[in-house]
């Protein structure tokens, strides 16, 4: 910092000592407003849509999943409500996985309703899964996801459901364990995020198995 530079804005250089900008601010602002609404608000998203549809049509249209008969059964990214105990069940969703909305009850940690909800889930768990003790149930399975649409459960959350599903479907526990292993996705690039199981994909596979 021996000497303060006069650099900093090329166009400023020429005007030093001379007249500063004296155009009509409002006229330029009005025209700039219209130009940028068209450029950023229409051209950018529409060109992006065109390019995306051309290059990655499957992903751009919501990564839809089909069953064996070729019917669309949902998106692999959007969780579904599974109330039938013969299916693997997803996380708690205060919106029952109704995807036209998204969200949770936003219970703070000190909210009594949160604890009441978890206690109720535990009672349900005991009834439906008499063979698996409560202290093995992972917290992820009994908590509401942020979106209410979480498509995943942790691998442990799938494993603890195996005894129940085996009993109800007649598929052996070994086979179900293999199925869960097969549908367990690791961390992205080996490090990012947590290991997870996609509940809809797992249940689609389970359905074929039971048939």
């Amino acid at each position: 910092m021996k000497q303060v530079s006069e650099m900093g804005s090329g166009n400023v250089n020429g005007s030093r000592g001379g007249a500063a900008w004296s155009g009509s601010v409002w006229a330029v602002a009005a025209r700039a407003g219209i130009v940028f609404i068209i450029l950023c608000g229409l051209v950018y998203p529409l060109v992006s849509t065109g390019a995306a549809q051309l290059l990655f049509p499957h992903q751009a249209n919501g990564s839809l999943l089909e069953n064996q008969e070729g019917q669309v059964v949902g998106s692999e990214l959007i969780g579904q409500q599974f109330t039938d105990p013969a299916y693997f069940q997803g996380r708690i969703s205060s919106i029952d996985y109704k995807a036209e909305g998204s969200g949770t009850n936003n219970y703070g940690p000190s909210n009594a309703d949160l604890l009441a909800r978890v206690h109720a889930s535990i009672e349900e768990w005991k009834k439906a899964n008499p063979d698996v003790s409560v202290d093995r149930v992972p917290i992820a399975l009994l908590t509401n996801s942020g979106s209410g649409l979480d498509p995943h459960i942790t691998p442990e959350s799938a494993v603890v459901q195996i005894p129940r599903i085996s009993k109800l479907t007649g598929v052996s526990a070994d086979q179900l364990t293999k199925l869960v292993d097969q549908y367990t996705e690791g961390r992205d690039l080996g490090v990012f995020g947590d290991p997870r199981v996609n509940v809809l994909k797992l249940n689609l596979a389970l359905k074929e198995y039971v048939k």
């Binding site: 005007s15 000592g17 900008w21 407003g33 950023c40 936003n106 219970y107 940690p109 992205d188």
Partner: protein
């Protein structure tokens, strides 16, 4: 593995700072470089279209007026579009016009780069307004903030009467930074499963035979500029927690880097402008030191979980998973929370309302300090403001006229800085108090006891810091909240912006004080410490009492 993934992201950020900072410096210093050939042609067309014939520098007053004029025009057009959106094109789901106080709140929110959302994206806006209002303002507000920061840096590092031409900076920010990066990253996100379509909501029959409505739309193009412009307003109600906005661990990392890389490289750009790169690294180090404290606080307290939940008897080894997504787990959720409130983006990948008390202090505190990296340009300006304050305090202690970058910091500058520093807590604490005194405010609180205090405090802090995240349990789409937070966002943005431009306008005309042996150096480790200390001192003096009433009290009483 948790800590490793946080460290890797920080390391990648460190690698991006220098090349990106150099690029941004080239863009705004008007030094010729290889990108000219590509972009100058497009820019000349835009200059012609907007009638910008000569691009001479502006005085700070003209610059400030141009900022206001450009923003007023966009606000006016955007407001009208929201009010009549139901009858316009690209509304396949048949959504209605937006109500007037909600439109007021929304338009201020997006123009001020806050992106507080009192509407829900699935039903509150149409595809046209998602693009032409929401996406458009994500660009223009980011470019506005960027331009002002660059003008401020010119003011304190160069000499003359003018601080650059706003419209030229504004156009260049779009053409050379925001549009090309956003377009490329949009395609990357689509490849990683973020939808980008104009088709209406899809209706499917689920595996169990229930009908499910799946809304989609041009999500990826909004998602990129939402982060690159540190905007934060989501396409869907739950923002980046929604699996369509943020489908995997890798998209989460990309979104973190998109919102973090530009604010983090601005200190380096500043160092280039100041012809003293060490000065840039001093600012960067102060920001990073504060950030590391806050990200650790969030990570460790979310990992430890809530004592109430831990006593229930289920397997809680994973940490506090209420309000979080399985694919992110604790590490990616905590990192996202810390970055989004540091860079004042305000997107969320987990629900901040459900954070443990101490985990929730970090996002709150970073928005209160508002200079830990900070939003598009604003964080750098605030940190430089604290640097001048630090110099001033040290000057008082040793009885010398304070200097920063070879200019004397005198009463006029200190008064302006004091205005900017005091405005921030005033517009947080005063409306918070008002909200508690009225039924209109109190009635919206959804969580009982101390947590309810934090909900209200968070809402106004987020508005004032132009962050936009929320403790979303708060029922905030009422005229009371729409209008009060609208005003807070407005003052939070423009008071400090204009005060800082005035400081720049005043410093740019000062004569340079030659450096002597007695000059107090601002480019070494000692000053980094003084800077961190100044930020924490001012922040603690201002906000500790109210933090004690909210999260600290909740922490102490949570069993």
């Amino acid at each position: 593995m948790d800590i490793l993934q946080i460290v890797i992201v920080i390391a990648v950020l460190g690698l991006l700072v220098k090349p990106l900072g150099t690029y941004v410096y080239h863009v705004f210093s008007n030094e010729s470089n290889w990108t000219d050939r590509i972009f100058s042609r497009v820019e000349r067309i835009i200059y012609a279209l907007i009638g910008l014939k000569k691009r001479e520098g502006m005085t700070w007053k003209t610059y400030a007026l141009s900022v206001i004029a450009a923003n007023v025009v966009l606000v006016a057009i955007g407001y009208v579009l929201l009010r009549i959106q139901g009858g316009l094109l690209l509304n396949p789901s048949g959504n209605a016009n937006m109500e007037s106080t909600l439109s007021f709140n929304t338009i201020i929110s997006f123009m001020t780069n806050t992106n507080l959302q009192h509407y829900s994206g699935e039903s509150g806006v149409t595809y046209l307004t998602q693009m032409a209002v929401i996406t458009m303002m994500m660009f223009t507000s980011a470019a506005t903030g960027f331009s002002v920061a660059v003008a401020f840096v010119r003011g304190i590092t160069s000499k003359g009467r003018t601080i650059g031409n706003f419209f030229e900076d504004f156009v260049k920010g779009h053409v050379r930074i925001f549009l090309p990066i956003s377009f490329l990253m949009t395609l990357v996100l689509v490849a990683l499963q973020v939808p980008q379509t104009l088709d209406p909501t899809l209706v499917v029959t689920t595996l169990q035979g229930v009908t499910q409505h799946i809304p989609m739309g041009p999500v990826a193009s909004l998602e990129t500029i939402k982060h690159i412009g540190t905007n934060g307003g989501g396409f869907f109600g739950v923002n980046s927690a929604h699996p369509f906005e943020n489908p995997s661990g890798i998209t989460n990392v990309l979104e973190i880097l998109m919102m973090w890389a530009l604010p983090a490289s601005l200190p380096y750009m500043f160092g280039r402008f100041a012809r003293n790169r060490k000065q840039g690294w001093v600012i960067f180090s102060a920001m990073m030191a504060l950030f590391l404290v806050f990200v650790s606080l969030t990570y460790f307290s979310e990992k430890a979980g809530s004592p109430a939940m831990n006593a229930i008897g289920i397997d809680v080894s994973q940490g506090s998973m209420e309000g979080k997504e399985v694919r992110f787990g604790i590490a990616q959720s905590a990192l996202f929370t810390a970055v989004t409130t540091a860079a004042t983006t305000g997107s969320v990948n987990n629900m901040h309302d459900t954070l443990t008390p101490l985990g929730g202090i970090a996002p709150l505190a970073q928005m209160m300090l508002n200079c830990v990296f900070g939003g598009k340009g604003v964080g750098l300006m605030n940190m430089l403001m604290y640097a001048m304050l630090g110099v001033f305090l040290c000057g008082l202690m040793v009885g010398r006229t304070p200097e920063f970058l070879g200019r004397k910091i005198e009463p006029r500058e200190m008064k302006l800085i004091a205005i900017a520093i005091l405005a921030h807590p005033l517009i947080i604490l005063a409306p918070t108090a008002i909200a508690f005194m009225t039924e209109l405010g109190k009635g919206s609180i959804s969580n009982p006891n101390f947590h309810g205090i934090t909900q209200v405090l968070y809402e106004y802090t987020s508005s004032a810091a132009n962050n936009g995240s929320g403790f979303e349990g708060l029922a905030d789409n009422t005229p009371f909240w729409n209008i009060t937070t609208g005003l807070v966002m407005f003052f939070g943005r423009y008071i400090s912006m204009i005060a800082m431009l005035a400081v720049a306008g005043s410093l740019v005309r000062k004569t340079h004080v030659p450096e002597t042996i007695g000059t107090f150096r601002t480019d070494n480790a000692l000053f980094t410490g003084i800077l961190v200390g100044t930020v924490l001192l001012i922040g603690a003096l201002t906000f500790l009492p109210v933090i004690a009433l909210g999260p600290v009290a909740e922490y102490l009483t949570l069993r």
